[in-house]
Point group: D3
Chain length 336, copies 6
């Protein structure tokens, strides 16, 4: 993506040309009866109201990316962009979506490929059959769904990011606890949150608008059990693996107060619960560290029920404390 | 059933002829290599060990009723019956199973007919289709399954007894709260506990030997959701009714600590939860009253987390207190 | 009551004549020393500030209904009514209070009569004596007290409405559980909440201004026990019935966290607790359904600690979904 | 009381003469038709079965003290006393009940006198009137009732002991918090547990056989409120003091889980709760210390949900550790 | 301190001379490049922004008291004082700090002396050594630190006030429970909260700006254990007293949810917990009573999780209710 | 270690020679005044009472291993070994302690070396200094202490086993979450449980006899903070690392109910808590799986508050179910 101005840097009379994310868009009718487009467009630095005075243009889809050219004006003391041209991105545009919205750090297609390679290398055909059906039932949503509306992995493709995070953690600890059945743990890691594609509604930018009726009345754990059973039926799989995978899905929140009517009742189910918790907490805490200055405490984080401290770690490697602070912060931000 | 001696009244040298329930039965080999049957037979007053020294007779099925003729002997200080003849009951025997084991107060076929008539009179074909499939999936187990291993409706056909109890209570309160959708509440009443036929294993006398793996790893609420979905698929029903019924099943225990990951989220689901609780508590408390003397407190009932008091209700209707006590107890026992 | 304009429809220069409820009223002194009345009057659609420039008129009582004639004006951008005449309603006015404030759906005198007939038909003179004294101790408050400040039956005569609701539910379920003592359950239903007439302060429109010191320091359960004992003393009743009724009052909230230091310890006390909960929840949920569109979720209801769903119940009886929605909503609203 | 042998020191053929406590006593009929007395008698060191072969003697009252003369025999390997003479103690006997049963450390009459002097010195006639009525309603039970069946002050006159303990603690802290109303706190201290005389049944030795129906169905807090109201009625006291004292009684356990439906809502009520807790805990812990060796941990104390440690406090006052241990233990035991 | 105007009574053109507390102070640079002081000064009635147009004066320390002379002006509709002269108080000024900020009712030096006298009179050199080191480690902070940021003893020298309150309560109850080790209880009373001087940051006026990293990451209980161990090391004390005192510090909040990982496990530790709770609650409730009118309920007090009632206590000593109200309130306010 | 008979296989008249673990040992005096040794010796299959009739032999140390030669006899119906010779093992004996008691699967010296190598490779001298002091403070106890009396890693050298398990898990997940400070997490893993060497008392066989006073009154979390501070003082380390490590120790149980007065407040502390939980749970569950047959449920495991299921995992790799069962069990047992 070519260099473009950030939304936060716009000012009156600036001419803008570049790609923006559609937060909302609708056709309206002005007092003189003419039709026009009213849009809110954004990148990761902010958003701006825009008008396009052309009654023939249809509103772009919420959550999509468009290329616009326009001029920034001021109206009633607030900035507004008058759009002159607007088009969908083409293949040669090389749009960098991560400048426009929070995105998982890896492309969704790469993440899905890694998951599929893991399934291919399994030695348990029953689990392979169920997992392939489940992924197929999710369809395109997998590409952009976040893992949550807020809290952790609330980003485009966050569901794949979290799924892969749990799967990689499983691979990391399996050599330490060899009595665990590896394929069963891998299958639980891949399957545990897939019903989130039914639990809430997300646009293609990974923005959750609401929970579905199914999500509110059943939740992704209970729905997940029905999904595993349906996938097994389609894959002609019967026997204990179906039951074990259902149990891993229903128990992965660990206890009744967190949504699991059963605690994990075999070691692979317990390990799945622990790794799911670990990956979610690490992702959330990393975000809190990013926005908390070194040496300071965060505000109270409600989902964690505590404040967090960003350690100063001064005098690291013999550098003076003041230098270390600056370096540490820079290094930290560059890491990610 | 003709009059017969109770097990509690047996003594040495008595000759017994009558119907008894098979608690356990197996063929054994004696020290001299001969085969014989070792049985434990019972009625509601007690049980007795029995031997049949005939190597050609196959052991009867646990939970079945047999007619036996034999003589009571004493062996190592304990009574034992030597069985001379044994046969299955025939059509003309008119066996009164309720003398042999705790039974629901109405015949299972009558209870099931009442449930089926209710389904027939519904005006919602979607619910009718799902319910008929669910009942069909339960098969013969419906005839004898109890509603629990202990606590409430732990009796032959107790599952039907409890299901019908909730259904009748629903019919009783519907006129008081006319904004409720009657068919939805009726459907919830019929469907809510049917997965208990999968949750545990019962013999035909309503005696629960154990929980199944499915029962332990998922429970009848979670399994019930999958069952409703499967029944809907078979009945070609789609749409909101499937979701509503799934929610009623998963929420009917009311709160996470009691097994429901969702609270009841519409009035019919809340009413189902309340009536299920009412019918179970009344059945359990009635049992406690029966075994607690008038004017006394029961031992602590763990499932209720309290002791119960059997009120004296003296001076009722002008009778003196002493007479009332005796009368009340008698009347009470006769009522049921 | 003759047809009159609703408060919500008032606009400048409109002349209004009709009945309104007095939300507040006081005599004030203007800067020139003259006295005048400042009132807030309302119906169920809204309220309006009013002035009556006549220093000789005494302020009407809060919670009463008055007939006014006046002209709507605008003052500092808000509507205000200048009242020309004001009087108390007379016998021929046929005021329909339900247009002016939330009211129980049946007249209080009818509800009280049904309760009294129930008492008259009891066969237990002890309970009859206590109940008649208790009702007499409540006096006129019974006619207009609500059952709560918010949450459920927060309406004129809501206390009678809820009391009768529990009593009718008791009559409905008694035939299903014949081991229950009917008179004891009926007495509990009638007595359980009567101390609410001491717990809080309500005007005659069923509007609760505050809790009393007795209500805050003891609560209606504890006060209710003292009230039962006092009523028994006046009615010359002694013996177990007094204790049983006291226990039903103190235990009817079911558990310590809900205000009951004892759980219900005999079946009639448990049933009272269950029916009290049922009648309160159904009344509250009915209100939530009324203000939640079909197919949508309510906001979170704090007293229930959950959101509620208003089922769509589409394709009901073969009508198309869109028609059914409209019909269902209409039917629903007309039901009540 | 003259010196006598302890029950623990009895052996075959010893002749015993002295005072013992009647744990149980009944007249039985021997196989030859003769009547005799079967008794269990005890002191604080143990109990012994006794027979008196005299059909004309009526069994003494459980919980009473008798003087017996008899001979110890052995029957079926266990000691048994054959009683030759038995009589009630007379005025000149100077029985020391504390050798026969756990007793409060001060005579009940002295304790009651101190309480009465406190009432006499109050300046609030309303509280004086209520308290005098309440004490009078307790009657003789006050002399011997314990404060609990187990846990704390489970001793003859333990109720007075605890009541006075709380009262003295109130006097001790009142100078430190002068904004407290002294008479109100004193009244709460005296009144808070008096309904224990109704809650359970105790013999004259302070031995609790059971809870009463009133105790189980209401508890001493709820019953206490009714008792305060009844006492106020008899003493012709009305107004806020009645309500305040009722609140202190109902709130003195501090929170719902401990039996108080209301928390203490003014400072004197809170102080009463704290001092009640303090006096009970100190009495209980003193007992645990007495039976736990210095330097050791007790078994788990269920009422406190913890184990306790008996500190060694070595090198106290410059004595060597070994001496200190012995001295401390002796001193400690002698203190009490 | 000579009589001076309160901040609340200041108005335009008034000339003020007197002592005020420095809430904040910094040197700023005006648009024309000149330096000046910007201050917020206060007494207990309010605060006022002040300017001193003298670039040579250094800003006084936050939390200190200064004497100022100036003139009140109005700027942008708000009062502002132009300061002409400013100096630190001298020895002859007799400043009454309690007019400028909430202060403990006794001078800190007197309170500390009483604590030191108590230590001197102990008979346990081990405890004396530890306590003296701990007090010395606190240094000057003891003179002004409050006991909390809010809730109880949030006042200058509040930490000493609370420490002494617990110590005096210990002296008051020790005669009632003679089995307690007096020196151990006294030592716990003195030591239990001293680590609050590390837990948060206070200026010399007893105003807490924030919690320290040590306070947030460890808390004053855990830090207190390390402090006792360090003090024992410095004082060359070993043995059980160190452990006992550590336990009293870590357990003085009574239970895990309140910050104590261990419950009090010997009687002196339990008594310390009870007296700490008592002194904190009485101080907090006294504050609530002061700001709640007689006969009224307070708003909900979050730290106590309840509303409080200010008893009317009418008809006290034969005075009429109306007079008593006024008198009681006056007397009450004068008491403190 | 040469082949020897197991204790479980001993029978009368068998001559035994081999190594056994000393469970208890004391010198006693027989009725004829002679001295002898009474011992209980064991291996992992059981224990046996032994006598050595030689008054000159001193009792061996509890928890030590000895070589014995003797003859099995029967006394009062129970087996007893008469020991003829007894000696301590020598260097050439190659005793396999794991046949005599539960042992960690790796030699303690190897485990400690791996920990020390990790410390050597750290880049943070502050943490290296503290850790080396802490390990040194533990001394030889590290070689044999278990991690707990029961539940998890209750085996010889179990503390090292668990410490290394957490450390290896940390190394495994660090690459997945690169924003974590590796040395801080490693330091927490090594330090978190070292105070268990003070919390309880273990013999050299890893058998816990009791908790210490320090362990009961403070616990290993609180004691661990003091230990870190003391180690830092000895190593001359100051600054934030001391505080961070103290926090990791005090917070590693995650929440107040599990003993941590603070939750983990930075990501490395949270990760330590998660990995500690993971390693403990996996170790415990592995043990439960070992003693639960394939396809069955365990008894209720109290520390986990649930039953566990040992999955059947049938038809694995195309083998028939029956074969797979046997193979899986064998393979599983061989794995460990």
């Amino acid at each position: 993506m070519m260099q473009q101005l950030t939304v936060a840097s716009l000012a009156r009379d600036i001419k803008f040309e570049g790609f923006l994310l559609v937060r909302s868009a609708e056709q309206r009718t002005s007092s003189n009866g003419g039709k026009y487009l009213d849009l809110t467009l954004c990148d990761t630095t902010g958003d701006i109201n825009c008008k396009m005075w052309d009654g023939t243009v249809q509103p772009p889809k919420q959550g999509s990316i468009i290329k616009v050219r326009g001029t920034v004006q001021e109206y009633n003391g607030r900035l507004q962009m008058r759009i002159e041209r607007m088009r969908n991105p083409g293949p040669g545009d090389n749009v960098d979506a991560s400048q426009l919205m929070p995105c998982a750090p890896e492309p969704p297609q790469d993440m899905l490929s890694e998951i599929n390679r893991t399934i291919d290398s399994m030695k348990t055909p029953e689990l392979q059959g169920i997992l392939r059906e489940m992924l197929s039932m999710c369809g395109d949503k997998l590409m952009y769904y976040p893992a949550a509306q807020r809290v952790h992995h609330a980003e485009r493709s966050g569901l794949l990011h979290h799924t892969l995070g749990v799967l990689r953690a499983a691979e990391a600890v399996l050599p330490l606890y060899p009595f665990l059945n590896g394929d069963l743990l891998r299958a639980g890691a891949i399957a545990h949150d897939l019903s989130k594609t039914v639990e809430f509604l997300s646009d293609e930018a990974g923005n959750v608008s609401d929970y579905s009726a199914e999500g509110q009345l059943l939740g992704h754990l209970v729905h997940g059990v029905a999904q595993v059973k349906e996938a097994a039926r389609r894959a002609n799989v019967e026997g204990e693996y179906v039951l074990l995978l259902c149990h891993m899905v229903i128990s992965h929140h660990g206890q009744p107060d967190h949504g699991s009517p059963r605690p994990p009742m075999f070691p692979e189910a317990e390990m799945l619960h622990l790794l799911d918790d670990m990956d979610a907490k690490m992702n959330e805490m990393e975000g809190v560290m990013r926005r908390t200055p070194v040496g300071a405490f965060s505000e109270k984080i409600w989902s964690l029920d505590r404040r967090l401290y960003h350690p100063r770690l001064d005098a690291y490697d013999g550098i003076t404390s003041a230098e270390a602070d600056a370096d540490a912060r820079d290094a930290y931000m560059g890491l990610l």
